[in-house]
Amino acid sequence: MAELSYRDAVAAGLAQEMERDDTVYMIGEDIAAAGGVFKATPGLLERFGPRRVRDTPISEEAITGAAMGAAMTGLRPVAELMFSDFIATCWDIIANQIAKTRYMTDGQITLPLVIRTANGAGSRFGAQHSQSLENWAMAVPGLKVVAPSTPADVKGLLAASIRDDDPVMFFEHKSLYATKGDVPDGEHVEELGVAKVRREGSDATIVALAAMVPRALDAAERLAADGIDCTVIDVRSLVPLDTQTILGSVRSTSRLYTVEENPRLCGWGAEIASIVAEELFYDLDGPIVRITTPHVPLPAADALEDATLPTVERIYQTIKNSD
């Protein structure tokens, strides 16, 4: 085990796969010479050269569209969109082209590509640079959607995404880039579509994603001190979604809370709540409760951004005070 930061784990995952497979290459804005604006790709230009680590013009539609074209020929491109908010500038390519081409060719064309992007709040970048858009991607049939919460998962899930034959939207969380954690030595590959139980408890199940996972874990520690013992599940992948782990846990705890950074309406937790309500209605001891960002554009000011996102305090209070 070596301790790596979340951002270093991005570079480590990319390096592992580029070393292993010379059809893997990277394109994006400021990823090469500058090492990425979030410093997640330093050293890769020097190690793999400008043919495989390419800086591009400011053209998100061309970045994703060219990745799609290259993937059709059998390459495994990893495209970076600097901020997830910019998927809106190339949504035709992602939602209409990349997501649907396999289906529209009756499975003839596969698109083994990954779109990495910096998602989420915490950096006070305001309404157009802080959004959590994993639920947009989740709503489009044909896309896989992954959002890691730890450095080990960044490396392992990024490797799995690159090896996957379908297009994967890989949401890295801005506010986690500086966090650190142990990453297994040597080759590390996780499996897509498998949730991870981060904490076991018998009284309630908390389901969280990305930056909300450490907050849910902190809240669970405080709840444990009050005698409420929670399971915390890191969803890790929204598509495919590991319903079995979630249903299995709720079956035993009989309570479900989701902690979501995306705005409330049609957030990913609504889908999980719906599945649990359908499958386990008679096992539940109380209403399913979603703890989310309100349905507002994110404020840029630090205090207001903090008050808008689900906090440890809010998770703790909501669960402690629920019926």
Binding site: T56, I58, Q128, A300, D306, A307
Partner: protein, 362 residues
């Protein structure tokens, strides 16, 4: 301006950028200068450089969330908008605070925006300046809409949009230019080619010899101008604005300049460019050539320079003080700003957020 005015009417797509005042502060043959007029332009450039320095320092002190300096681009900032008339629109970027200020967007609001306060995104009632575009490129299309509407109204007003060479790689650029050409809108596209889009040099944005030459494909006039020469910048912009106002359609101006500072205060330019290159552009500074001309003509001295910098410094400090003294936004403000009429879901969420803020939790 006297002399080769016809050059400005015809446009110039490549070759040497149009210039009036050279690097050493000497007039290009054929031009005359009104000393008082040039002193006013110089004064504005000193003022915005003072603002830029202060804002950069404030970001480093943690008083602004982020800041994108326009240091080195002052001739573009002032020369372009100095050619506009009352009521004309300006749609610029996060790096165009100098031009926005010249058109009446107050420094107080510019500072406020950069502290993360959404009130900074509100131009005053009589100010026809759009709030700065934070995402790259979308505002170029807005300028087409602004000017198209003015054309339909027959107001005689026009719109000028400022953007960097990096933004010309976005699809928005093509669509804005094409729309403007097809609908013959009174739009001035003003590209500040400052050589870098964060770390990406001009060479990787386009394989064209120039950006100005792209005008040809959209059926409009293009200009390649020395963007560090405030007189030349104003002259080409005035020619483009006049054509727009006369119903002769849109123009594209490429002003060659240099972003002497970083992309933002979070960026380190030493990773992607050389100090020799930076030195070259220090010699081409847009203020220094004007100062040299004025000094040579007996229209500049140290006391005046000091006076300008002090006056600008006081104005900037006053704006900072006013911005920092405003009562802070609370949760109610941003919930209320989402829709014209509140809806029940949001009202419930607003009440919950207000309770949380009162609890002081975060």
């Amino acid at each position: 301006m006297k002399g080769s005015a016809h050059v400005f009417d015809q446009g110039s797509l490549s070759g040497d950028p149009l210039s009036i005042l050279d690097q050493a502060g000497r007039l290009v043959a054929g031009y005359e200068v009104d000393g008082d007029d040039l002193r006013r332009l110089y004064e504005s450039m000193v003022w915005i450089r003072t603002y830029d320095r202060k804002a950069t320092a404030m970001q480093l002190q943690g008083r602004l969330a982020t800041y994108s300096p326009f240091f080195g681009q002052e001739a573009c900032q002032i020369g372009s908008v100095a050619a506009l008339a009352d009521g004309d629109w300006l749609a610029g970027t996060y790096r165009d605070a100098g031009a926005m200020w010249f058109r009446g967007y107050s420094w107080e609001r510019l500072f406020l925006g950069r502290t993360g306060d959404e009130r900074g995104g509100q131009p005053a009632e009589d100010v026809t300046v759009m709030p700065p575009s934070i995402t790259v490129g979308g505002h170029m299309v807005h300028a087409v809409g602004l000017s198209w509407a003015e054309k339909m109204k027959g107001s005689g007003k026009i719109a000028l949009t400022m953007f960097g060479e990096g933004a010309t790689s976005e699809g928005d650029f093509h669509e804005a230019m094409n729309f403007a050409g097809v609908f013959h809108t009174p739009t001035v596209f003003f590209c500040q080619n400052n050589q870098y889009a964060i770390s990406a040099p001009r060479e990787i944005q386009t394989a064209s010899d120039s950006i100005a030459q792209k005008a040809l494909a959209y059926g409009m006039v293009g200009y390649l101008v020395n963007g560090n020469d405030v007189l030349a910048v104003r002259e080409v912009t005035a020619a483009a604005a006049e054509r727009a106002r006369n119903g002769d359609g849109p123009s594209l101006i490429e002003a060659i300049t240099y972003r002497r500072g970083p992309h933002t205060t979070a960026d380190d330019p030493t990773k992607y460019r050389t100090s020799q290159e930076e030195d070259l552009w220090t010699e081409r500074d847009p203020l220094e050539r004007v100062r040299a001309y004025l000094a040579d003509a007996g229209l500049w001295d140290e006391p005046w320079q000091t006076e300008l910098e002090e006056a600008a410094g006081v104005a900037v400090e006053t704006a900072v003080g006013a911005a920092e003294a405003l009562p802070k936004l609370d949760a109610g403000n941003f919930f209320d700003a989402v829709f014209e009429n509140p809806n029940p879901t949001l009202s419930d969420e607003k009440a919950a957020a207000a309770r949380r803020l009162e609890l002081g939790e975060a």
